[in-house]
């Protein structure tokens, strides 16, 4: 009896201790103060968590930043679902990755989640303020700066990546540096299909052609679009079905599908990357990008040819940003800015978080670019835009033979000035708060058709009218009206400010 009693009490004790142990296991999340330096909790994005050597690399960076600024960071790499949850639960952080496509900047800033750095950034970190220049505009909410844009490719430029060995050497076709529009690749598709009637020349998966919608500004998840080149004084927001260039693009894709250029199951395929035989691929990049030119990797020469862009809008400029937590004290916010400033101005420091440890993960080449080692590719794969300024990091070369231009970014930003196609909406963003319910239902309807539209599987002239009917029943017109009226208001205000500043 007593033994049993004991056993009973033991069991209970084990259970209770287990429950109780959980409580003191409390760890202060990033607020732990060091002796003479501050620790900032910095949350950034990575779909696959931290790379294997992340800890070592962060420590190497911390060593320098502790010395220079008295600051160290606890850098966390979080997948998007975790990041959304963290934001939705009101957890504390100091800096967070925010953008127009993940952890939405406009919505969060509007909700007051980010620190207003308008004055702070000019007073405390003038060098940072200077370096961002005109791109601060995309981080303004109601005239106040609520985040720090990360300088990278600010515009979207779409290109073809073609198998040059096949098209140029074997078929004697010429791949120009610039082509005009998506349709201009059709002769290449036709040539390949004639040679290989059972194969499909277009690299197409359920995601569609990357960046194929970038020639439009998209609102409410893409159900409403604003074309770049409009001749009306105030840009017009419109429905997908009213936008002729977009309809034509869908028609082109469907024509390709019918002609057998696109895999019949494209709308359900996850990725076509493994199939190196596909001769026509697509990409979104910038002038001078060399990433696809390594013949050793592909087994053939790849030539890129831009067919569209670069398009610049508030959305494209918000590709990656820092948000500083609204709950930060002024000192902490300043420290965040100082840290961001160091990342944006000190190249050697920046290269650590970007590429890892010199000698182990990467080496500097003679022309000033970097080359990743195999260990770097395996154990610290670089995803530059998530860890700070891309422009301030060294440019990476593809191999000893295929070198990049170390001054590439200067040229890219010059190109934005000369050839950039700018949005006419003057940094307009749509405040979704009042129409969230409509937008959400429209999203559900849109996703019933979008995959097969963008892969060319379905005929837009059959499917889009159906979609239109459903969308209109769900309140589409109400939303469109609201978008247009907000846009009108915005343009009026912007014009007013412009004339004021001119005076």
């Amino acid at each position: 009896m007593d033994r049993l009693n004991q056993a009973y009490r033991m069991t209970k004790r084990i259970v209770l201790t287990a429950l109780l142990l959980a409580v003191p296991a409390l760890t202060g999340c990033g607020l732990r103060k060091g002796n003479d330096y501050t620790t900032l909790r910095w949350v950034t994005y990575s779909p696959s968590g931290a790379s294997m050597d992340a800890k070592e690399v962060i420590e190497a960076a911390n060593e320098i930043s502790r010395e220079k600024l008295g600051i160290e960071v606890e850098l966390e790499f979080q997948p998007s679902d975790k990041m959304n949850l963290m934001m939705a639960s009101g957890e504390y952080y100091d800096m967070v990755f925010t953008s127009s496509w993940l952890n939405y900047f406009d919505r969060n800033a509007e909700d007051g989640l980010y620190y207003d750095i308008t004055d702070l950034v000019q007073e405390e970190t003038p060098a940072l303020y200077e370096s961002i220049g005109k791109y601060w505009e995309c981080a303004k909410i109601g005239g106040r700066i609520m985040g720090v844009p990360i300088l990278k490719d600010m515009g979207a430029e779409e290109m073809f990546r073609l198998n040059a060995d096949y098209f140029e050497t074997r078929k004697g076709m010429e791949i120009p540096e610039r082509m005009d529009g998506l349709e201009s690749v059709e002769p290449f598709l036709k040539a390949y299909k004639e040679d290989y009637p059972n194969k499909y020349p277009v690299a197409m998966d359920k995601g569609g052609i990357p960046g194929f919608l970038n020639f439009l500004e998209r609102i409410a998840g893409g159900v409403i679009v604003i074309p770049y080149d409009q001749d009306t004084p105030v840009p017009q927001a419109m429905a997908i079905w009213d936008c002729e260039p977009l309809m034509n693009r869908y028609r082109t894709l469907h024509r390709w599908y019918e002609a057998g250029y696109i895999h019949p199951d494209a709308a359900t395929i996850d990725s076509t990357d493994a199939d190196l035989s596909i001769p026509v691929r697509f990409g979104v990049a910038w002038k001078g990008y060399m990433g696809y030119s390594n013949p050793a990797q592909w087994g053939f020469e790849v030539k890129t040819s831009t067919y569209e862009g670069p398009f610049l809008s508030r959305q494209s400029e918000q590709g990656a940003m820092f948000g500083i937590c609204a709950a930060c004290t002024k000192e902490r916010a300043t420290e965040c800015l100082k840290y961001i400033e160091l990342l944006s101005t000190d190249r050697k420091f920046r290269d650590i978080l970007a590429y890892g440890i010199e000698g182990k993960h990467f080496n500097y080449l003679e022309n000033g670019t970097v080359l990743q080692t195999q260990a770097g590719i395996d154990r610290y794969p670089a995803n530059l835009y998530t860890t700070g300024s891309v422009v301030n990091a060294s440019v990476s070369s593809v191999s000893q033979e295929v070198l990049s231009d170390p001054d590439q970014w200067k040229k890219v930003f010059e190109e934005y000035e000369t050839d950039g196609i700018y949005s006419q909406t003057k940094g307009f963003y749509y405040d979704t708060t009042r129409k969230e319910s409509i937008i959400t239902s429209l999203q559900a309807i849109y996703s019933d058709y979008s995959t097969e539209l963008r892969t060319g599987t379905s005929d837009p002239d059959v499917v889009i009218p159906k979609m239109r009917k459903r969308m209109e029943a769900a309140g589409f017109n109400e939303l469109l009206e609201d978008v247009q009226s907000q846009l009108n208001e915005w343009m009026e205000k912007a014009e007013h400010e412009e004339t004021e500043s001119e005076e």
Partner: protein, 323 residues
């Protein structure tokens, strides 16, 4: 009550009230689990409030403040996105259609398999069969989707290979909604039947073997044995599964209806269930208030259904009901 000191209780109440003592002991045995439920299930229940709030927490502030001060009431606004879709009848029909079929087949098939399997002479063989049948349960839906694609792909799929071999035309499976009601039902049974079967087999081991021995001596046939011994003894388990499944008639396995058909647009009329709709609607905007509203609605309906199912079961067989 919270700290029943065993020894004292026993001494005081010892012989006087064995029933009260027993109840106290049983309660003490339940206590650890009850505490666990309080901490991990009841504490988070405040999330139901999200359904009626425009939840906008401020970072670094206390949970209570975020919930009650920082988030304004939204009334029923969070629910409205569910009712904007003109496809709602179709979505509800799909949800109920599949769930009712799964409810029936999900009990019938595993029980049948278990009852027969339990009679096999070779326990080793029966074990191998059980293991193989259980395997699909541990594949994620994503993987099931890929596997199925291996069979149904237009060009390289195994099924179309066979069709072509016999001279038939290849079918574009992922663009042909007609077949998918059957395909989805088969996939669901393939994946879950083994699991349920193992549970029933386990329940069969609880049956007093002297009952079987007696029956055998009386010369009972297989069917008589199943009808008069096995099924009645399995009734509580079957009833439990029936009641719980009824409670989730409006919920559907998202993976089965979204990941298995690879989110093919053409199949949408037969694959769109309530959970798929909610997921698609909230895919791009992570609006947790909306999803809370949707699940609240599903749960509330489920609750009513469960109570009804429980009452029905209780009427026919008092012992088998859940509550």
């Amino acid at each position: 009550m919270k700290k029943p000191s065993q020894k004292n209780n026993v001494r005081k109440t010892g012989r006087k009230a064995p029933k009260a003592r027993r109840d106290r002991e049983l309660f003490a045995m339940s206590l650890p689990a009850i505490l666990w439920y309080l901490a991990f299930c009841y504490l988070p229940l405040f999330g139901i409030f999200f359904a009626f709030k425009q939840f906008t927490p401020k970072p670094g502030e206390s949970l209570l403040k975020n919930l009650f001060v920082n988030s304004p009431w939204a009334g029923l606004d969070n629910f409205s996105f569910l009712f904007r879709s003109s496809e709602l009848p179709q979505i509800l029909f799909n949800t109920l259609f599949y769930n009712l079929i799964f409810l029936v087949l999900g009990i019938l098939i595993p029980v049948m398999l278990a009852v027969v399997l339990a009679e096999l002479h070779s326990k080793f063989f029966s074990g191998v069969v059980q293991m193989v049948m259980l395997l699909p349960y541990f594949l994620s839906w994503v993987i099931v989707g890929y596997c199925l694609y291996g069979f149904l792909a237009t060009d390289e799929g195994q099924v179309n290979h066979v069709l072509r071999m016999f001279g038939a035309a290849a079918v574009q499976w992922y663009q042909s909604p007609g077949y998918w009601r059957v395909i989805l039902i088969l996939v669901e049974i393939w994946k879950s039947a083994g699991y349920a079967m193992v549970i029933y087999l386990c329940a069969i081991t609880a049956i007093d073997r002297t009952l079987y021995e007696g029956a055998k001596m009386d010369g009972a046939t297989f069917w008589q044995r199943v009808r008069y011994i096995t099924l009645p003894m399995l009734r509580p388990t079957i009833a439990t599964i029936f009641i719980l499944r009824t409670g989730s008639l409006l919920a559907s396995d998202f993976g089965l209806f979204y990941q298995v058909p690879l989110d093919s647009n053409s199949l949408q009329p037969v694959t769109q269930t309530l959970d798929v709709y909610v997921y698609k609607a909230l895919m791009t905007q992570a609006n947790f208030s909306f999803s809370a509203a949707a699940s609240f609605l599903q749960n509330a309906v489920g609750c009513v259904l469960l109570i009804i199912a429980n009452a029905v079961v209780k009427k026919t067989d008092e012992d088998s009901s859940l509550m």
